[in-house]
């Protein structure tokens, strides 16, 4: 610079140095937090599930357990609650089998481009319902089991995924994505696993007043 600077506030080198320090500091903090988060969101193990140790992202064998989503007084929002064992597609899956099924499902979720209509963990497109807690959706109960003629939730989901055009619920329908029976099982496992992830209470009050809404009428007595 030709003229000497009168004030530090108009000095380029001051701002350059400050920019470098601030950027460096923010980057280091982000990397440090990333290490901590990586530890917390790594998948748990089957042993964790058996011992009842809560993980933010449980092991694939969580598909062998009943999953619920309940208000936690302590945390002030809903959290996934892993309950008793229940069969999944009529059997208990070994850690190896469960991991393979989840792998198939996660691959399927990407290969079929789910995210460009739906949201997963709230991220994606906004043309179709959020899938974060789709496993827990009341629609899979009486409505979809009735429509598909299947006796369990997982079978109804798999049937719907294979032939969504046969079971329309609204004018906006899911297209047939040529999902095979095996892939459908994988996708259901992926959805069940996702519903067991601790999402800090998102979505809030999942489907809480849907029954009331469907019943119609008034809430006044």
């Amino acid at each position: 610079m030709a003229k000497e600077n009168l004030s530090v506030w108009t000095s380029i080198s001051f701002w350059r140095r400050s920019a470098a320090w601030v950027t460096g500091f923010a980057t280091i903090l982000l990397i440090w937090l990333t290490f901590d988060t990586m530890g917390q969101i790594s998948m748990g193990t089957d042993a964790d599930l058996q011992k009842g140790i809560t993980k933010r992202v449980p092991a694939p064998t969580v598909i062998n357990y009943h999953i619920d989503y309940k208000m936690s007084e302590k945390r002030g929002h809903e959290v996934p609650v892993i309950g008793k064992k229940e069969p999944f597609f009529g059997k208990e899956w070994s850690p190896k089998e469960a991991a393979a099924l989840l792998h198939l499902g996660k691959l399927g979720s990407q290969a079929k481009n789910c995210m460009n209509c739906h949201t997963l963990l709230g991220n994606g497109a906004y043309y179709a319902p959020d899938l974060t807690k789709a496993w827990l959706d009341p629609m899979w109960g009486a409505t979809m089991q009735g429509m598909t003629g299947k006796s369990t939730k997982e079978e109804a989901m798999a049937e719907f995924l294979m032939h969504p055009e046969k079971y329309p619920t609204h004018a906006r329908m899911m297209p047939n994505l040529k999902i095979t029976a095996e892939e459908a099982k994988g996708l259901v496992a992926f959805l069940k696993h996702m519903s067991s992830i601790d999402t800090n209470g998102f979505p809030r009050g999942f489907s809480k007043t849907v029954d009331q809404f469907k019943a119609g009428g008034t809430n006044a007595h």
């Binding site: 950027t23 691959l107 209509c117 963990l121 994606g124 959020d130 095979t180 009050g205």
Partner: protein, 475 residues
């Protein structure tokens, strides 16, 4: 057709490569708008192209064309300014030209596969050959690797030219920022069964691009454009640029936390994400003030009005200053706090913000850079806005603002009815989607999308003809 833009007057190889990138960017911009119109139509008439060209396909090409045209225009801008800033010819320009053709061919193949193959079986081969199914970075793995190679060549062009030439503040920021921008792409190139882990790294690419490195890139382009268009003082512009870098990276890097509220990541991201992302609008205000201040200052100096050398270019830079602040700053701040975001996350609200932010922060300034390219290509000293330039900027800006307002209204409906009242889920989702006000908003979004498209036609016409007209007028 775009070959019509002559580049005989360009004095260096970098500018010629820049123009090549601009031409493809415009074509991809058109593709983005067409796909958007299809997707918007499907919101209103769900049977439109159902089973043939579903929403997921239209939407994927819509957002991919967006990202790629912007990257093309960004790369084009860098090539365009490289020799001017460094005072040196582009190092290894031949390789840069080859890289352009390789990248363009690869992108053509990717788009054709998206459109005609669309999806594949749940196998690794689909991820490698068809699409990765991860929003914004769907490009299959083979293309990812190709992109990395091409970007390395591009970076070598920039870096070695920088090394042998003048090291201006603008170029120093550019070179450092491009390294971060390119490196971040690698965070999106792996597969994991853990969806939380997947989303964690996915945001490294998406957020640290659009809310950090791309913003710094825009600051750099604006600095260069102000020097070029209105003769702003380099010392002032560069000082502002460093302040912007400080504030953009200071808020944007840890602002990443606002994407980690609900994806399985720990609660401490609530506070970190809220604090830093709430600060993100601050640099955008600074950039806005800076552009307008410099403009007013140059206008007032030396007694008489100083000359704006590129009228339409400058108009888009000023629109950028407004749009960045409004779209990224205000619309982003609306829903950045976790207390609000728990309801707004993943609704049309996000879509409203996305439309205005991508337009205001990026599309505007990149269109401005294309006007700079046209001016250079015809060797025009002073380029004034034509009727087409004015129609383009008015219709496109009005169209995007209209879409944003419509989507914001749709977002309110969705947030309050689907999320707050009914708690989300399948039935709750459709209850909100079928509300008359929501449907009305989606119809307005489609209409405003058409307005935007008409504006684009004017823009295309203008870019094709303005240079020739201005040259003829000067002769």
């Amino acid at each position: 057709m775009l070959i019509n833009i002559k580049s005989n007057s360009l004095t260096n190889a970098g500018q010629r490569i820049g123009l090549m990138y601009f031409r493809v960017a415009i074509i991809l911009f058109a593709a983005q708008l067409l796909m958007g119109l299809i997707a918007a139509t499907q919101f209103v008439y769900p049977s439109f192209l159902y089973g043939i060209f579903d929403f997921s396909v239209a939407r994927m090409v819509h957002i991919n064309a967006l990202v790629v045209w912007m990257l093309y225009a960004m790369i084009g801008s860098v090539y365009y300014m490289l020799t001017d800033e460094t005072g040196e010819n582009v190092a290894m320009a031949g390789l840069g030209k080859l890289a352009f053709w390789v990248l363009t061919l690869a992108i053509a193949v990717v788009v054709l596969v998206y459109i005609f193959v669309q999806i594949g079986p749940a196998k690794e081969s689909t991820i490698w050959l068809i699409n990765e199914g991860r929003e914004y970075i769907e490009a299959p793995r083979w293309a990812d690797i190709g992109i990395v190679v091409v970007v390395l060549i591009f970076y070598a062009n920039v870096f070695f030219t920088y090394l042998k030439g003048r090291k201006t503040g603008i170029m120093t920021v550019m070179v450092a920022n491009l390294l971060a921008l390119a490196g971040l792409y690698l965070a999106g190139m792996f597969f994991t069964d853990n969806i939380s882990m997947d989303q964690y790294w996915w945001w490294w690419v998406i957020h640290l691009w659009v809310e950090a490195t791309w913003e710094v890139f825009v600051g750099t382009l604006a600095a260069y454009a102000l020097v070029k268009f209105i003769g702003a003082k380099r010392e002032v512009v560069e000082m502002w640029l460093w302040i912007e870098v400080l504030m953009l990276f200071g808020s944007g890097i840890l602002g990443l936390g606002h994407h980690y509220f609900w994806i399985g990541t720990p609660e401490y991201w609530w506070e970190i994400g809220a604090l830093f992302s709430a600060l993100e609008p601050v640099p955008l205000v600074a950039m806005f003030v800076h552009v307008l201040y410099d403009w007013a200052k140059e206008q007032g100096e030396s007694g008489e009005k100083s000359v704006i050398t590129n009228g339409p270019g400058m108009a888009w830079i000023v629109t950028n200053a407004f749009g960045n602040f409004l779209g990224a700053g205000i619309w982003g701040f609306f829903h950045t706090l976790p207390q609000v975001n728990i309801y707004t996350h993943g609704t049309q609200f996000t879509s409203a913000h996305g439309h205005l932010a991508f337009f205001g922060a990026y599309a505007t300034i990149l269109i401005g850079m294309m006007y700079m390219g046209v001016q250079g290509a015809y060797g025009v000293k002073r380029m004034k806005a034509t009727f087409n330039s004015k129609m383009a900027i008015v219709l496109i800006t009005f169209g995007v603002l209209g879409m944003t307002v419509a989507l914001t209204i749709a977002g309110y409906e969705q947030v309050l009815v689907e999320r707050a009242e009914l708690g989300g889920g399948w039935q709750a989702f459709f209850a909100a989607q079928n509300l008359p006000w929501y449907i009305q908003a989606q119809l307005w979004r489609l209409i405003m999308g058409l307005v935007t498209f008409v504006g684009f036609i004017y823009l295309l016409l203008d870019l094709l003809t303005i240079g020739k007209k201005a040259k003829a007028a000067e002769a």
